[in-house]
């Protein structure tokens, strides 16, 4: 039963990842990445991390990928032309992808970790222990990530702003480029 659920979501993740990478239209790539992330969230729940799964959907698909879509629509990115590197580029890409995948797979597989058992340990999957660890042992990185996000907001606003010679900054900050 658990194997069936795992295979469904794993297959869905791999197929939609392939679509992300192979489809010509970037909007379809983003939507496929949404599907990939949702299946990854389901796998996270199976691994006993429902909080991280909810965060993944909420933050990653709910905000970051929407931002991607906005930028794609703003820049009017159309269907992509085929790559110009020719066959050599394709084979180098495939070879390096296979190399990375095999190295990672062998490194991780070779340890024989045994089974991830079915029913979750109740304490492990609760939000409270994770929150406690985050706010005690990892408080400094937590606050630093907050500062990092602030820096990113400021950087993004400054970078994406039209610099008008008149000197008055436009609305700025909105994803539409301050129209």
């Amino acid at each position: 039963m658990e194997l069936a659920v795992f295979s469904v979501f794993a297959l869905l993740a791999v197929v939609s990842a392939a679509v992300v990478v192979l489809h010509r239209n970037p909007v379809y790539s983003v939507m496929s990445l949404v599907v990939t992330l949702i299946s990854l969230a389901a796998l996270f729940v199976m691994l006993g991390a429902p909080l991280i799964a909810a965060l993944l959907v909420l933050v990653y698909t709910g905000a970051i990928l929407v931002l991607f879509l906005f930028v794609i629509m703003l820049l009017n990115v159309g269907r992509e032309e085929p790559a110009t590197g020719g066959a050599a580029q394709k084979w180098v890409a495939v070879a390096s992808a296979l190399m990375f995948g095999t190295i990672l797979g062998t490194l991780l597989w070779g340890r024989h970790f045994g089974l991830a058992s079915g029913p979750l340990d109740a304490e492990y999957a609760r939000p409270l222990p994770l929150a406690r660890v985050l706010l005690s042992e990892y408080l400094l990185p937590f606050e630093m990530v907050g500062l990092l996000l602030l820096a990113a907001v400021i950087a993004a606003t400054v970078l994406a702003r039209r610099s008008e010679p008149g000197g008055e900054p436009d609305g700025g900050g909105t994803a539409e480029g301050g129209r």
Binding site: I52, V77, W109, L149, A155, A156
Partner: protein
């Protein structure tokens, strides 16, 4: 029947490989960015699987949850990186009217 943890790792490796393929093959800068995000997500999966392995191997809860903590930070950093990266793309597009990486070659020899 239970799922061996190795299955999750193989899936993570496969997704990483697919992401690498995308990052090396595409011309569109934003699609390359998406492939990189895919690679980040595959690593997240591996970390969560590790966290579960540690919990089952009998480590204390705080130690075992480190994987989930790392993933939490990775998601936050990916958000920051996406925001700045996309702002960069917007700025590049304004200057060069393209985000085709083959044409963004001012610094090539």
């Amino acid at each position: 029947m239970s799922v061996p943890v190795a299955g999750y790792f193989v899936l993570a490796a496969a997704l990483f490989a697919i992401g690498t393929l995308g990052a090396l093959t595409r011309r569109n800068g934003i699609t390359i960015f998406l492939s990189i995000e895919l690679m980040l997500s595959s690593v997240n999966l591996a970390l969560i699987a590790y966290s579960r392995v540690l919990a089952e191997a009998g480590y204390a809860l705080e130690a075992a949850l480190r994987g989930q903590v790392i993933v939490f930070f990775v998601i936050a950093i990916a958000a920051a990186e996406a925001a700045v990266g996309l702002a960069l793309f917007i700025a590049i597009y304004r200057n060069r009217q393209t985000i085709d990486v083959n044409r963004l070659n001012l610094m090539r020899w």
